[in-house]
Symmetry: C2
Subunit: 202 residues, 2 copies
DNA sequence: GTCTATACGAAGATAGAC
DNA sequence: GTCTATCTTCGTATAGAC
């Protein structure tokens, strides 16, 4: 096996296991076992666990960028693009109910460990934040674009956390519907009454 | 030292360290060092780490119940009581920006570890959920009380996660303000327009 | 590039003296 | 009830053969 290919396999296995079990709880032996490598050979590719974590974060950053590019290519309208973000909670529902949001849980774990890579993991949030912010600007909400981006990011994090705690599909569907309604109400010039009701529905 | 007092000291130290560093990352040596005990003596009080975790969760459940009772005693009006919950994000802002929400992060970690105590930790969420639900019922929103409770719980989790990732006080204040506005809009009979605007403000 | 063998330290847990 | 000493397991990391 070519080194680059093996390395890639390791990164992808680590990516999955870090998400499913957490960074600290995943051992080199777990990853080596998944890939079908010996523990010894592992160190030919990654000298330390932190180096591997860095590669995993880089991998996630690339994948995230590619996903955001895909959403941009798929729709011209900024609100349709933002809907792609909201729909991620549905698309990844099963995984999220089992393991939470990959970004939120990694950042949370690294914060508690006071890990050097904490700020790099937060770049994953930044990717979403700034992409969303650009969409809200294009939506005609330049002045509040960043706050709106943070708001919807906040909601997706809250939904993911409670989805994992309760494994409740109906809750997820409800909140996704609330997010869609909220988004519709953000359109400039939309009459606030009576179509958009800030009152929550069950 | 009386056994019960030492035990209580251990539980409180573990409670703090589990919150600050996480359950797995906290060793018996850390806790013993904090309390000023030898590692050996530790096992006189708790035979396993899981037993200690159980005691910590029990302790948190008691403290949470007592806090909720306090909020009920302090205000008759259900919306004022719910405001106490929202204000928790401000009262505990410093800790939350450093370590996230104690409930959300513990549930998240135990979920990844697939730990037996996961469901017990989720009882902490249940305490808030059902208390909030009762307040929304008293507020005149019986039919949607549980969904409203989940919604505000979701928001507080999302705010806590992003607060820890960005350590941004202004974001927290903004979102707390949004939560208050949302709550005001939940009062039955409140005109939706023009006072309550579902549009987000920066 | 991959393997086996092994060093080293950390952490959970136990035994037995005081 | 608290201590010291010790056992065991596991996980990171290294050395060196193939």
């Amino acid at each position: 096996m070519v080194a680059a290919a093996t390395r890639q396999q390791i990164v992808e296995a680590a990516d999955r296991l870090f998400y499913e079990r957490g960074f600290e709880a995943t051992s080199f032996a777990d990853i080596a076992g998944t890939v079908g490598l010996s523990r010894g050979n592992f160190y030919y590719h990654f000298k330390t666990k932190d180096e591997l974590l860095d590669a995993v974060i880089t991998h996630r950053l690339l994948e995230t960028r590619s996903m955001l590019d895909g959403w941009e290519a798929k729709a011209e309208a900024p609100d349709e693009r933002i809907l792609s973000f909201i729909n991620l909670l549905i698309v990844n529902q099963t995984k999220i109910m089992a393991h939470g949001c990959p970004v939120g849980t990694l950042c949370g774990e690294l914060a508690k460990l006071d890990h050097i890579a904490k700020s790099r993991a937060a770049e994953l949030f930044d990717l979403f934040r700034h992409w969303l912010s650009r969409q809200f600007s294009a939506f005609g909400r330049e002045a509040e674009a960043d706050a709106l981006a943070m708001h919807i990011l906040m909601r997706s994090q809250g939904v993911a956390t409670l989805a994992a705690a309760y494994r409740d599909e109906i809750f997820v569907r409800n909140e996704v519907e609330n997010m869609r309604a909220w988004l519709a109400a953000q359109r400039p010039g939309t009459p606030v009454f009576p179509e958009t009701d800030s009152r929550q529905h069950s």
